[in-house]
Symmetry: C2
Subunit: 339 residues, 2 copies
């Protein structure tokens, strides 16, 4: 059966379509008698407003779109949850989509037939898409970027300070007295800005502590997944002079590393201390529990939604803002001091 429309309700109640609309929206004053009649008809027909029509008329949908590379990466799942909650507080529904970490899928966002036109705004955590591409293909949908992509000033942008986050992580390892500190997750070859910033922070910390930089201790990984962390850790321990600590560029790599070290018979933290970034819940229950740098996801989500809503509601584009979210060090078992 077809959904009831305002017209159906109006006919049944013997009033004008407009009056039904007024009752539904509470816009204009409606007499009690008419209101009662209309409400009866509304219930009898189980009327539900056609939001597509309303959206067309109003030129807005009240929906934001969050696009992340992979929804089953815990960091993105936790972030998505926070963004949905933040959107809700601002009166927007947030729909989540993922690109499967596929550059082609990411670029589909820019195409003529992208579903983005359905949304009032876009929060995008890009993997390979550059701000430049985004600007050139000039989608008029307001956009806020998440994560550390080349900020070229054309988009608002929310991220933690990745250099200092990585520096904090590394300095924490140094504070334990570790001197051969490995880094897992560099991405020098592609649009891996986040990774490169973390490498920079890692090197800063070494320098400040007067520790030598050994390129053999820096392991690139194509992606930030557990099994690559395990592989990298295994490879590191096979070095002639293996590390006594590993800084992983995210928690998944670190959790994989924990597992790889265990399999290799390496004790954590006694032989090798491990730290990650992301503060995902999984790390709390790992064995040993994982030390990490915790980005304030709630804050990231809030700031992103706030910026986006500002862009949407102030028609005229306010200057794109580069917003820094905070992060904190959370030391757990994987970086306990030696007994």
């Amino acid at each position: 059966m077809r959904e009831a429309t305002l017209r159906d309700v109006a006919t049944r109640a013997g009033v004008s379509i407009r009056t039904v609309s007024n009752v539904v929206n509470g816009y204009a004053p409606v007499s009690d008698t008419l209101r009662a009649k209309v409400e009866t008809a509304l219930n009898e027909l189980d009327y539900r407003p056609n939001l597509i029509a309303r959206n067309l008329k109003q030129g807005r949908s009240g929906m934001l779109c969050l696009v992340v590379p992979e929804l089953d990466v815990p960091y993105f799942a936790e972030l998505a949850r926070a963004v949905i909650a933040a959107g809700r507080r601002h009166g927007y529904a947030v729909m989540v989509d993922q690109t499967d970490a596929d550059p082609v899928r990411e670029r589909e966002l820019l195409t003529r037939n992208s579903r983005l036109t359905l949304f009032d705004g876009l929060i995008l955590s890009p993997l390979t898409l550059s701000a430049q591409e985004l600007r050139e293909r000039g989608n008029k949908t307001p956009v806020v970027l998440l994560g550390e992509h080349l900020f070229d000033g054309s988009f608002s942008h929310v991220a933690i300070d990745n250099v200092s986050a990585a520096r904090d992580a590394t300095e924490h390892l140094i504070s334990l007295g570790r001197t051969r500190i490995a880094a897992v997750g560099d991405q020098p070859y592609r649009t891996g800005e986040t990774a490169q910033l973390r490498t920079a922070g890692y090197r800063q910390a070494l320098e400040r502590a007067g520790l030598p930089f050994d390129p053999a201790l820096v392991r690139p990984t194509e992606r930030f997944h557990r099994h690559l962390g395990a592989t990298a850790a295994t490879a590191l321990m096979a070095l002639p002079s293996p590390p006594d600590a590993i800084f992983c560029y995210n928690d998944l790599l670190a959790l994989g590393a924990l597992r790889g070290l265990l399999t290799a018979g390496v004790r954590v933290p006694d032989d090798v201390a491990v730290i990650g970034i992301d503060g995902i819940e999984e790390g709390e229950f790992a064995t040993p529990s994982l030390s990490t740098i915790v980005p304030d996801k709630q804050q990231i989500a809030d700031l992103a939604v706030e910026s986006l809503v500002a862009l949407i509601e102030q028609g005229a584009t306010p200057a794109p803002a580069e917003v820094r979210a905070s992060h904190t060090l959370l030391a757990r078992e994987s970086t306990l001091g030696r007994a």
Copy 2:
């Protein structure tokens, strides 16, 4: 700047709106000369179709909505990924929403102003919402349910066979020679049908093996989260006669239990074997790695989307189908046989 409309393009190209539409959609034959003119104008104005308008006219949006309780629960995140992929194969975009495991939020789906009218169909993994409520509030949007909610025949429904999954898990523990097997995750008090089915499977396995059922070994948990698993495991080990194996109703509980046992100085699997359900990736990297019952998430997603698309596209409702997805046992370190 306002988005360009068909009318803008038509004016610029000196043709009718209809012709522009034909070019955009490739519907009707258009001469090369006109097509060229139109395409120039399309590019100059960076035209993008207004999908809201198109959807209104066509009476469909090409979008499905997936609603889960919590997106940062790995099972749901992994499922969401599979559903998005399945939707895509069927030509639908899937948007994900979550209810924060809040019964009130779940019921909002049924209200007059639910955003569901925007979607062609709904895939719902309900927590407390019953099929009856869903039916009574009679949303006309096609719905497919996921998970084991009371199946009353009014909705299509995809789930694994929870009784046999729980039985398989328990029998696996029994096959290791364990005799005092605990169950963590029962939900006897609320609409916890899934939990209750798993309890039934657990008891079946005990019976078949001729093992006694000890109510003290069945721990209810309000939700299926890691910390509750840890608490439950700790409590179990404090019993006068503690278990030698624990069957957790999902992997998060099991991962929490692993952690709780470790903290209590209990060795897994030597002292206590542990198994979960869900097959989330996290379990592979846990220490020890987690044995689990793996539901075929890809199959669940495919079946759900297929059923839903059938409902949508065959206007007339085909009989609601109860579909069983398959599951397999994955034995890992947490249930290794004793040395």
